[in-house]
Symmetry: C2
């Protein structure tokens, strides 16, 4: 973990750069908005810690009613459980015996559930749970259109659920039904159609499972781009939203954009001004994920982040825009929040122009 | 820093994934090849630590004759100096007083040089050197075609060099002339033309500086894609090569590819096999930089890394290729080595199918 780039009380311009900035007013507004929306819709929220990677953020979400956290990785589950999060769903398959042993060990200090999409996976989880003397809830992941992991809805799902339910150290935890592809479909019509189809498949599976005597404690899915749609279906009972706490440039390109404020920024510094049309900042592709597009420049008319190399970002200035000075700070909106957060050790929380807090990104790099 | 994914002696299949693997035979062959090539050409090597971010690798390079290291960031300079590297060039502009104070402080334990491309930058460096009571060599960065930082070769370069030489706590360190754009030009003709032009501009500046009484202790540039060209010009006296130690898929697309072996891999695990044509591994875009293209699958005929999401990699299997099994290991060649290394805390060094060593990636995330 690298040294923090700021101290509480410091004005923003004194923060060492690149730094990951959290606008606390916007962040808290986002937490509140999701909590109210879910309450109004009568569904639970189990936010995804793959976005924030921080027990601090997890506890703030749970203080507003979230029932626990989702993670994608065993290492993330460990860091949350060690940080006092009592209820964790690994919304992902875990198949390696060594990882399953770690997860089963965690079940002594937190409720830990995970997903499976293969009989061999279920058997491996059962073996690990037996070795550790714990009981693990296992959800069946179904493919509702994301075309990644998960079983195609149908008889195989019933068979796998039965296998889980009849495993001595497992309980059937429900269905994992995340439509990842729908999150960044640009129009509401596309997203509505995708989630309608996902909900129809999921709902039918819930019914089919009921007919063989298996209830679904969790029917989980949804993301920041579609949560209102899943919440309204009556099929999903848990929303696994992640990005809503921060937002990013790519979610901003949805129509309409999700009802959240941009709270996450990368603060950069102008380090070279080679000519009147160009300024170079100290945040390149090691500081900002570019997989979903380049970052946006925040509230600087006519200035565009035009290219990233490893440690440099090239800004272009439209004719007539006010020039950037050497050592000036520039705020950037990350193209994609989750992997950008994963580049930093610290959130620098700011309010009213000053640093209010530093929170460690404890699960940064926790990929194992 | 996250727990190491392996222990010395372990067979490769027991390494926890995703893990960053270093094939030690290939890596050492790369170190040796560069050392001989530079010796034969009569130029110094000052490898770039922005690639490897490790004092361990730096010392192995210096044991083979490298004169020191390049870095892009003050934090990288700190970690190398604290790790015993005695001669460090920040091949980049540093303009913020707080960063310059850190760099000047380092000059008590290592030789530390840096670059400037603006009079205000030179004045800020002079102020920091004066405050710390040290003397810092400063190179002028010139733009030889990369169109990023640096002055256009010409009278401004002479003026800035004079300003450095006449600053009481600075010495003129020479020219920084890196043609970054040429590194990944695909044909030898393109690269040859780019470096010929860069060398012509640089050589003329060296001459012009000599006429005003300023010698260039360092004339630095070159990268893994073009180092043989710069080495042959007689203009450059230091090669700032980085990627040659590891190589990556993007350098592999050059014609001809640089004369080095692929030594860097990401080891991943199959976590889902949804159908006969698809397998999903546990290494996605948090585990692998995708800015220069997707990773390649190593030595698995017919298997392609077709898509990355945050924590998942989707492999497609051509008809007739042998199926991938759940929990099977798959080696991936990163698309771009530098930012991929920056995702990991540990190199897992392997030889003859076993883990031989673990080296910390000490400057991982050292962006400040």
């Amino acid at each position: 973990m690298y040294r923090p780039p700021a101290e509480p009380g410091m004005p923003i311009d004194e923060i060492d750069t690149p730094a990951l900035i959290l606008d606390l007013d916007a962040f808290e507004a986002n937490l509140d908005h999701m909590a109210s929306a879910a309450k109004a819709a009568g569904v639970r929220v189990r936010p995804h810690a793959k976005t924030h990677k921080s027990p601090v953020v997890a506890h703030l979400q749970m203080a507003r009613g979230a029932v626990g956290q989702c993670v994608q990785k065993v290492a993330e589950a460990e860091i949350l459980a060690w940080g006092g999060v009592p209820d964790i769903l690994v919304s992902n398959e875990v198949v390696s015996p060594a990882k399953l042993a770690r997860l089963a060990a965690l079940a002594r200090i937190a409720r830990v559930a995970l997903c499976a999409d293969h009989a061999l996976g279920v058997d491996a989880i059962e073996a690990a749970a037996q070795d550790a003397g714990v009981r693990l809830p296992v959800l069946v992941e179904i493919d509702v259109g994301a075309a990644r992991c998960g079983l195609v809805p149908g008889p195989e799902v019933l068979a796998l659920a039965r296998r889980i339910a009849s495993s001595r150290h497992l309980s059937f935890g429900g269905l994992q039904a995340y439509q990842g592809r729908a999150q960044h479909q640009r129009t509401l019509d596309e997203r509505t159609a995708s989630i309608a189809s996902a909900a129809e498949m999921t709902g039918r599976m819930v019914e089919d499972l009921r007919t063989i005597g298996l209830d679904c404690p969790i029917v989980g899915g949804a993301g920041t781009g579609t949560f209102a749609l899943e919440a309204a279906t009556g099929v999903f009972n848990e929303l696994q939203v992640g990005s809503y706490v921060f937002m990013d440039a790519d979610y901003g390109r949805n129509h309409p954009a999700p009802p959240f404020r941009q709270s996450l920024f990368v603060l950069s510094t102008v380090m070279s001004t080679p000519n009147a049309e160009v300024a170079v900042v100290d945040a390149g592709l090691k500081a900002l994920a570019v997989d979903s597009g380049l970052p946006l420049v925040w509230q600087r008319e006519g200035v565009t982040y035009a290219g990233a190399s490893d440690e440099h970002g090239k800004l272009t200035l439209a004719p007539g825009s006010s020039p950037l000075k050497l050592d000036e700070r520039v705020m950037l909106v990350p193209g994609h929040c989750d992997p950008t957060v994963d580049r930093y050790d610290w959130y620098v929380g700011v309010r009213n122009g000053r640093v209010e807090c530093l929170w460690p990104i404890s699960a940064r790099g926790a990929m194992n």
